[in-house]
């Protein structure tokens, strides 16, 4: 089956990013496909490459990046939500006249249409939030 996963909250603040990760891993282990993982609201904060969580705890950005690499996952960060919260790639940095960008390369910034498209393409949409 094809899953679309929507994550509405930031890492560590809520368990959403963890639960979505565990679900995604279990689904992939069972041979299912994940069409897209869409990060919305504070979920966009998962995509920063600047996070330095404590060494003795999980690194959610890294975990998602590794899963994405292993399974060629499409991890999309909503551009509008990202702009609001200061998550940017090089293009966004230049477009908005900022002096830095912070996105982890495993994630790509794109529009809300990607969420709708995922809802259309997938068999099931899983939403993790608060």
């Amino acid at each position: 089956m094809k899953f679309a996963i929507q994550i509405n909250e930031g890492p560590y603040q809520h368990q959403a990013v963890d639960s979505a990760y565990q679900f995604a891993k279990a689904a992939l282990d069972k041979g299912h496909e994940i069409f897209r993982v869409f990060f919305y609201h504070d979920g966009v904060n998962t995509a920063t490459r600047l996070a330095v969580p404590p060494q003795d705890d999980r690194n959610l950005t890294k975990l998602w990046a590794e899963l994405a690499e292993q399974h060629n996952l499409d991890m999309v960060v909503c551009v509008a939500a990202a702009q609001r919260r200061g998550v940017a790639d090089e293009d966004e940095m230049k477009r908005n006249g900022k002096d830095a960008n912070n996105i982890h390369p495993a994630f790509r910034i794109s529009g809300l249409g990607q969420l709708i498209e995922a809802g259309i393409a997938a068999d099931r949409v899983m939403v993790f939030g608060d």
Partner: protein, 102 residues
Amino acid sequence: MATLHTVNKSPFEKNSLATCLSHLQSGYAVLLFEDGVYGALRGTNIAGRVEDAAKSGRVYVLGEDFKARGLDEGKMIEGINVVDYAGFVDLATDCDRVQSWL
């Protein structure tokens, strides 16, 4: 046409479990996970409704979240089934749609 309802917040913090239970249609499955697992405890002010839901349909708890919170399976409402993340995936594929009560 069955729906998997997921509840991830404590019934003592939010009304999500209560409102979920008010919107069940025949063939439902309810999964309590994250802080929602507290809804599976016996003797609470919502336990009666959860017991009824477990009798008229299927109610599940994500074992990993239950254990993480130090909860004792012996204190779980009778009729609730424990699943793991793989079981969560199966619930999502067995139903026709998923409603996440946040």
